[in-house]
């Protein structure tokens, strides 16, 4: 029997990192090496910045000098623009790591008198590349040529030749292009780009601006086709990727205390799983923040770094309030274990928040993260966006094996299933807090609605908040939801 062995040709492209946070994860390693990538979008979408970051990171971090042919901005202007992001172009060009060549095209000065080609441009580029042995090239934005060169047939064939030349020279290149009405770029540059096309977008909805990035095409690479939010911050672009395109994070078996001994008891006497996500919902004043603060305090006592995002109260307000329930958080701040980050939910778009949260987590590498409350984020955007954002965030936290707690405010009479529906499925543990007034005496109740991977108590207990802290009281037999117990937890039974 004759069997022809199919030749497996591995055509997976070699990639080089852009150095832009998130983009390299998203593309599985960066841009295709030695190929031309198109970055397109409308004016002000951040394409030039992305391209410059690619060059600067290449020169600084990866030992790959770069050439920028800029058709729009002079060297001086560009230097000033990127200096605000902490890049010193002058220094880099002095060290022969970077060349910026401003190509000016003034139509009014140019008359056409017969055949020509763009050898002048080629020679300039080749000269610059040779001078610093460049490995990376940026052409920003080559479309400006369309305004200067009347004969678009010549221009198009010359662009084709230019891109082929760049690839022959094994130069990894970013070409930027202005978005057209119906096409990716106004002049159809995407026709010439075979390997990688990235589209940037900048939208304003309800007065909140969001920037998004999409990998339109990436030959030979599986890539997310979703739109990913990105942020232009103090140190450049950071893209918020879905860190795991597949669910492969390792589930830890280690348990950590909730910070309240009696709550631990309800969870097999051991508390949460490390790396799990915890949702705490409750009506106003039921003690959500107190619960979160106890959790954080216990983590700090174990010597773990905690990051607390607050959207409603200032850190000092939280500290004061927690003192009243017998919890001193100041000492953890002084020891550098507890970090607060207070933001107004509407101060930036949802993506902005997500990007900030990501960045902070990457910088600090905490073991525990609290977001208090996510309700305010929901108000900042549609619930669909919130869900996709939280999916990303929860995924990211799990991959990083960070234990996270999210609080969510529910409203009296509002079926909590609805408000939390968008997010609860992402959560491993869901703790419900509520007010009730049996016999006219108001009290707080707590029960664990779900907790994956453990045999938890499903009984409601009274939550007692006093100067001595949070404690769980007696099992409340009269709770309707709490009576549907699958099996009394051992801890609760022992009690």
């Amino acid at each position: 029997m004759l069997r022809v062995k199919p030749k497996v040709v591995r055509t997976s492209l070699a990639k080089i990192p852009t150095g832009i946070q998130g983009l390299d994860e998203l593309t599985g390693g960066g841009l295709p090496k030695g190929r031309v990538t198109l970055v397109c979008g409308r004016a002000g979408c951040g394409k030039s910045l992305l391209a410059m970051e690619f060059l600067v990171h290449g020169a600084v971090r990866y030992g790959e000098p770069g050439v920028c042919m800029d058709f729009e901005e002079t060297e001086e202007k560009l230097t000033v623009n990127v200096a605000s992001l902490g890049f010193d172009l002058r220094e880099l060009s002095k060290r022969k790591k970077l060349v910026v060549d401003y190509v000016s095209i003034d139509r009014s000065q140019i008359a056409e008198t017969g055949e020509y080609n763009l050898d002048g441009l080629f020679i300039r580029l080749a000269q610059a590349v040779k001078a610093i042995k460049a490995k990376r090239v940026v052409l920003d934005s080559v479309e400006a040529l369309f305004s200067g060169i009347a004969d678009s047939a010549i221009l198009r064939s010359e662009l084709r030749r230019l891109f082929r030349w760049l690839e022959d020279q094994k130069l990894t290149t970013i070409v930027t292009g202005e978005a057209g009405d119906r096409t990716l770029t106004r002049h159809g540059l995407e026709e010439y780009i075979a390997d990688c096309v990235i589209s940037l977008d900048h939208r304003v909805t309800e007065q909140i601006s969001t920037r998004r990035l999409r990998v339109v095409k990436y030959r030979g690479t599986s890539h997310g086709t979703d739109e990913y939010p990105f942020l232009i911050g103090e140190d450049g672009i950071s893209v918020v990727p879905i860190t795991s395109l597949v669910l492969t994070h390792r589930a830890l078996t280690e348990r950590i205390s909730t910070g309240i001994a009696t709550l631990d008891e309800m969870m097999e006497g051991k508390g949460f799983f490390r790396g799990s996500s915890v949702l705490v919902t409750g009506t106003a004043g039921t003690g959500k923040s107190s619960l979160a603060a106890n959790f954080v305090s216990a983590a700090c006592a174990r010597g773990e770094l905690c990051l607390y995002f607050t959207f409603e109260e200032s850190p000092s307000q939280i500290l004061r309030n927690m003192r009243s329930v017998g919890l001193s958080l100041e000492k953890w701040i002084k020891k550098g274990l507890l970090h607060f980050n207070a933001m107004r939910p509407t101060s930036t778009g949802l993506e902005g928040h997500l990007a900030v949260i990501h960045k902070q987590i990457i910088q600090l590498r905490p073991k525990v993260v609290v977001i208090d409350p996510i309700t305010n984020l929901i108000s900042a955007s549609g619930s669909y966006d919130v869900k996709s954002m939280l999916v990303r965030l929860v995924d990211f936290l799990k991959v990083e094996q960070i234990t996270s707690m999210f609080t969510n405010l529910t409203f009296a009479g509002d079926p909590q299933e609805r408000t939390a529906a968008a997010v609860s499925s992402l959560m491993d543990t869901w703790i419900v807090l509520r007010d009730s007034k049996p016999n006219g005496r108001p009290r707080r109740e707590l029960y664990v609605l779900k907790s994956r991977g453990m045999k938890h108590s499903r009984e409601a207990r009274e939550l007692v908040v006093s100067k001595r802290g949070l404690e769980l009281g007696i099992v409340l037999r009269d709770h309707p939801q709490a009576t549907t117990v699958e099996g009394t937890s051992t801890a609760a039974a022992a009690k």
Binding site: Q109, A111, Y116
Partner: protein, 115 residues
């Protein structure tokens, strides 16, 4: 974009410039080419012919081959090849192409008919 003339101007050119620069109708032209391509050769021939007809005795042509002096491309912002730059009289004018369309060259360089 109007950079000063490059330092490596030919000595003879510099001399002639001082001798004739005062005359406002003197044309100093610089033609950029890249190797001996058909377009380059055509441009040189076309330019000589037009100048002889229109500017007899009142012009100087300098041919710059960018394959030999690539660093000169930046100063005059050369993109297309061939490019002809009218350096004098001011203002600087640029025309591109092999100069085969004589009428366009005359208009582009703003040449007065020979007197």
């Amino acid at each position: 974009m109007d950079k000063k003339p490059s330092a490596d101007m030919k000595k003879s050119a510099a001399k002639k410039q001082t001798a004739k620069a005062s005359r406002s109708d003197f044309y100093r032209l610089r033609l950029y080419i890249a190797g001996q391509t058909p377009n380059s050769i055509a441009a040189i021939a076309n330019l000589k012919k037009i100048c002889e007809e229109k500017l007899q005795g009142k012009y100087r042509i300098e041919v710059v081959d960018l394959l030999e002096k690539p660093q000169l491309a930046k100063g005059d912002q050369i993109i297309a090849i061939p490019t002809l730059v009218r350096r004098l009289p001011p203002p600087v004018k640029k025309i591109i192409g092999n100069l085969s369309k004589t009428e366009s060259v005359i208009v582009g360089l703003d040449l007065q008919p020979a007197r």
